[in-house]
């Protein structure tokens, strides 16, 4: 088939429609939130003293970290799924969540006596944390990987990793409402490990599933 012939076929197919990437990403985000919320409510649900906890800075700080991670990852993954789009600024924003966590860890180390550091870090929930963040995030990750396939990421492994971070930020936001361990020392350790699991799965998905 000559290139000329191929162009004829492509031209005849111009009337086929596909949803533009931007609204498609918002739909995917909505679906991912619903999936994560459903899994969260069906399994662990929020902690019983949620309303009381909502008045404490440590509890609220968890949501700041996870939501900042989710928002920055969402901005980055949209540029990564568009060929030729500038990614530099969105990439730089990915540092925001880790920096906030690092800052909170430093503050916590100043405020909490040294003998309690270990207790705060180990907490009481680490196995649940490492189990449920990936569990809540796996459905959203599948949605995001599918979206990457619908898009056209020229760096599929990186895009898949960011899909994992996005799913992780979303899942951790829900999980934070359940978890009784509010210390930044706990969050910096166990949330990071749980989210890294999703990022690794995302990278594998990017490598083997995101082909176009």
């Amino acid at each position: 088939m000559r290139t000329e012939d191929l162009i004829k076929a492509l031209d005849a197919d111009i009337s086929s429609k596909a949803m533009p990437l931007r609204p498609a990403w918002w739909l995917a985000a909505g679906a991912a939130v619903i999936i994560a919320a459903a899994v969260f409510w069906m399994t662990i649900g929020p902690r019983t003293d949620f309303m009381v906890a909502a008045h404490t800075v440590r509890f609220l700080s968890k949501f700041v970290f996870t939501i900042v991670l989710a928002i920055s990852a969402f901005a980055l993954i949209r540029t990564l799924s568009t060929p030729g789009a500038a990614t530099g600024r969105a990439m730089a924003w990915m540092a925001a969540a880790p920096l906030l966590v690092a800052l909170a860890v430093v503050l916590e180390l100043f405020m909490v006596p040294e003998r309690l550091w270990g207790t705060r870090m180990v907490g009481s929930n680490m196995m649940i944390c490492m189990g449920f963040i990936p569990l809540i995030g796996i459905g959203p990750l599948a949605v995001f990987l599918w979206m990457l396939r619908y898009g056209a990421p020229t760096r599929p492994v990186l895009a898949g990793t960011v899909a994992g971070l996005l799913a992780g930020g979303l899942a951790a936001t829900f999980y934070a409402a359940h978890c009784f361990d509010d210390s930044p020392l706990f969050v910096a350790t166990w949330y990071t490990i749980a989210i890294a699991v999703l990022a690794l799965l995302g990278a594998l998905g990017g490598r083997f599933f995101v082909r176009w």
Binding site: M1, D13, P83
Partner: protein, 183 residues
Amino acid sequence: MSGKDEAELSRLLRAAIAGDEKAYADFLHRIAALVRGFVRRKIVQGGVDPEDVVQETLLAIHVKRHTWRQEAPVLPWVYAIARFKLIDAFRRRGRRIEIDVDDIAETFAEPETETVSERDINRALDGLPPAQRSVVSSVSVEGRSIGETAAKFGITETAVRVSLHRGLAAIAKRFSQGRFGRE
């Protein structure tokens, strides 16, 4: 690349997405020429046929045209896709060479014959289900319109469009997975 070309190509693709076939044919011809130049400059030594990469790129541009943001410049988008497809072609070729090395003894002695007609896309086309293959061939190689193709096979124009669309999507998918022939 001048800003004038960029503006003109963006205009053509916008018109095409709105359904203007003439604008789309114009766009694809110009893009084919640009990508051909780009690919030929990048392929210094043999192994990868530039025209295969041009065809893969055009197909990818077609099936991924919804990823172009209409207010963004079109050329960075086109070249990003072309570069991705070129790297993909090298990667695949690398694999094939590894496979070939096992029984090279005789193939080395023979002169390399350039088979112009044996395009990757033909092999991908051959791997399609018969209905899709005949519709895609009719509209491309045989140069029939949608209406003429419908009349030839005694099916509706809608059925032709569906087969064409699925066939092209299937070829694009085969390229992306490095599969060309029948399974």
